[in-house]
């Protein structure tokens, strides 16, 4: 967020040159070409990703200006935002004029000699799923994409962040960006997650406790034993929603799990290059005496499955809790009402957000004080760069196996990439989804957002594994409840918002 909070203790600390560095400091310093007289830093960008929605604009604009891409082999184009996810899809899309975006991206990529994961490519999928899957995102590199969820890729220990189309042009042409150095924050997750609680619940819980602007202006490092215990895909889910916390980006220090994940992937280094890379990657952690501008700690033992009730990711409660009132002092009741949204450290956010909460309750068609579990839903959606990797599909399938979606409810699964889809089919998960009554789709961003193409119906209530519950995000006046794949699957079965733990334990 702008402005960054003033007074950087960490900056003073760094300037002494004697003390430890954070992971972010190390990545930033390695990529600093030069400091500009105006106080911004010229940062070298190792890799650029584009997708057909914003990438097409950047590429057309560049061509119109007669400018060339500095290093085409380091640029990767994905088709994910506008493409349909019906199995027999083509360049023609449900969204009017979608073909223009797809063709412009394809032609722009071919003309400039960029890497392209086209619609018919078996590697096609959502940019933030494809990049790690192909080994393109790696520890210690900088990566940008004109897409706000680029922070997902920080899970590998990369410095990856979302930019606009004009900045993408700047990165393509100059291999750099002018950036004001963000502040640093560390969020330590301690304790152990309870069974049935996932990385999605961790990040929603964090945002619920500290607000949708809680990480504003900060590069947020997620650390602590509960983060180290997460597999790589769960780490991506955690970092994915750093932007919903208003962070500049999220990142996690690479460890043995990161290396094991990367080794052998198509774009990962091999042989001597791997050895050299690994030696460097092992230096990428925050020093014990590093100082952060801000630190938060979350005990994972307290986290229940989370579900949003409103129109901001900070409008979130335990699935066992009740919908809070607009004014938080009214909501504290004796039973299982979550303290998350009404915690003391959040009081200022609450006061300022009272009008927002009232509007959200009205928009969502919910009564303050009602239990969130049991709220009838119209649709269930499993997909997006947040939660559509193979481990997410396995988790949802564990709930769905031998069960059926409640009749009349529309349930859709859109794998994060065609590779994820193929893997799921090898494991027979597609059969589980289909048998349960889920539509089984090709890959793309799909109905994570309403882009003029396919969408959920007017005011339909959707429980969704995606990342944004904004007004009309998934269709006209749709009412989105964000949750984990387990919670979405369990809710699809019962037809109402449901705590997944009972079904998972059976």
């Amino acid at each position: 967020m702008w402005p960054p909070r003033s007074s950087s203790a960490a900056q003073k600390h760094r300037s002494t040159g004697l003390m430890g560095l954070t992971l972010f400091d190390k990545l930033w310093q390695e990529h600093l070409v030069e400091q500009q007289p105006d106080g911004t830093d010229l940062i070298y960008i190792d890799r650029v990703f584009l997708h057909e929605r914003t990438g097409s604009i950047a590429l057309s604009s560049l061509a119109a200006a007669g400018r060339r891409v500095f290093c085409p082999q380091q640029v990767f184009c994905c088709m994910d935002h506008i493409v349909d996810t019906y199995p027999d899809r083509s360049d023609d899309t449900t969204m009017p004029s979608g073909r223009d975006f797809i063709v412009a991206t394809r032609e722009g990529a071919q003309a400039a000699g960029l890497n392209l994961f086209d619609l018919d490519d078996p590697r096609q999928g959502i940019v933030h799923v494809v990049s790690p899957e192909q080994g393109i995102a790696q520890p210690g590199l900088t990566l940008v994409c004109p897409d706000s969820h680029t922070c997902t890729q920080g899970a590998l220990g990369a410095l990856a962040w979302g930019i606009g189309s004009s900045e993408a042009e700047h990165a393509l042409v100059t291999k750099t960006l002018r950036v004001k150095r963000p502040r640093s924050m560390r969020v330590r997750f301690t304790g152990e997650l309870q069974p049935g609680v996932t990385a999605k619940d961790m990040i929603l819980y964090l945002i619920g406790r500290h607000g949708a602007a809680g990480g504003s202006g900060c590069a947020v490092e997620f650390s602590g034993p509960a983060v180290q215990a997460l597999d790589m895909e769960a780490r991506m889910t955690l970092c994915n929603m750093a932007v919903e916390f208003s962070a500049f980006t999220g990142l996690i220090a690479p460890d043995a799990a990161t290396l094991a994940y990367l080794q052998g992937r198509p774009y990962a280094p091999r042989g001597e290059h791997w050895t050299a890379a690994e030696a460097y990657w092992r230096t990428l952690y925050s020093d014990a005496d590093a100082v952060f501008d801000a630190e938060l700690e979350v005990d994972c033992g307290n986290i229940q499955p989370q579900v949003t009730w409103g129109t901001s990711p900070q409008h979130v409660v335990d699935v066992t809790a009740r919908v809070p009132a607009a004014v938080s002092t009214d909501v504290v009741s004796t039973d299982a009402v979550s303290t998350d949204a009404v915690s003391a450290d959040d009081a200022s956010t609450d006061a300022g957000d009272a009008a927002g909460r009232a509007r959200a309750l009205d928009y969502m068609g919910l009564e303050a004080g009602a239990a969130i579990a049991g709220t009838p839903i119209d649709c269930a959606f499993i997909g997006s760069c947040t939660n559509a990797r193979i481990s997410d599909l396995r988790l949802a399938a564990a709930v769905l196996r031998g069960r059926r979606v409640r009749p009349g409810l529309r349930a859709i699964c859109v794998p994060g990439s065609m590779q994820v889809r193929a893997q799921a089919e090898r494991e027979g998960l597609d059969q589980v989804f289909r048998a349960a009554g889920f539509e089984w789709r090709a890959s793309g961003c799909s109905m994570c957002f309403y882009a003029g193409g396919e969408h959920f119906g007017f005011q339909q209530r959707v429980v969704s594994t995606t990342n944004r519950n904004f007004e009309s995000r998934q269709g006209p006046q749709t009412r989105t409840h964000l949750a984990s794949p387990a919670t979405v699957a369990a809710s699809a079965v019962t037809g109402v918002i449901t705590d997944p733990r009972e079904m998972l334990s059976q």
Partner: protein, 215 residues
């Protein structure tokens, strides 16, 4: 890009926190690979009573008369007063394009989301951060006085209210310069090409796998 030096214009309210870019320009209207023509769909959900369709002529659509931008007093407004975390959510540059196409040259808020803030400067729109108290004061004065207009002087980095009160603001020197002159920052950065190449050579030595292992 249009240069921005001194601008005087009517102020209009967007009186809610965390206005996200979906609200500024809903995704279904991002139908063109062009950068212009998004103004009629700015704040579409709030502005019209019907459900807008991409490609539709908006001139005959029913207006939401409760939405301030539709009030007669705010017609022709070019300065938007907003609340905290304005422009959060999706990175779409269509948000400043839509604001600019509608006629807004300046947005004043206590804070902005990062990507949106950057995107504004790239498109001739000046985002100004003032304190919560100052923004509150501007809102109050605007509500109290029809035709309330502000003068924004980027050269002097000041907002001037009708009563003559001066509110200084901060802006990065580089961004200010680019906006004052309507300059394209890519051209300026290319002047640093030697430094970039020198860095790249050093980085290639240090991290050969980033250069060698592709393809």
């Amino acid at each position: 890009m249009k240069a921005f030096t001194v601008h005087e214009g009517i102020a209009a309210p967007m009186d809610r926190a965390n206005v996200d870019t979906d609200l500024i320009i809903p995704k279904q209207f991002l139908k063109s690979i062009k950068r212009s023509g998004f103004g009629p769909n700015l704040f579409d959900e709030l502005r019209y009573l019907d459900e807008g369709q991409p490609g539709q002529d908006c001139s005959g659509r029913p207006l939401n008369q409760d939405f301030p931008l539709n009030f007669p007093r705010y017609q022709g407004a070019s300065i938007l007063l907003a609340r905290e975390n304005f422009g959060c959510g999706s990175s779409r540059e269509h948000a400043p394009w839509a604001l600019e196409d509608y006629g807004f040259r300046c947005i004043i808020a206590p804070s902005f989301a990062d990507i949106f803030y950057n995107n504004c400067f790239k498109n001739g729109v000046l985002p100004i951060v003032l304190s919560e108290e100052q923004v509150e004061q501007l809102f109050a004065e605007m509500y109290a006085q029809e035709g309330y207009a502000l003068t924004v002087d980027l050269q002097e980095q000041k907002v001037l209210t009708p009563s003559g009160e001066v509110m200084p603001f901060q802006v990065d020197a580089f961004r200010r310069q680019c906006l004052l002159q309507g300059l394209d920052d890519i051209g300026l950065t290319l002047q640093r090409a030697d430094a970039i190449r020198a860095y790249e050579e050093k980085w290639r030595q240090q991290s050969p796998w980033l250069f060698g292992a592709i393809k």
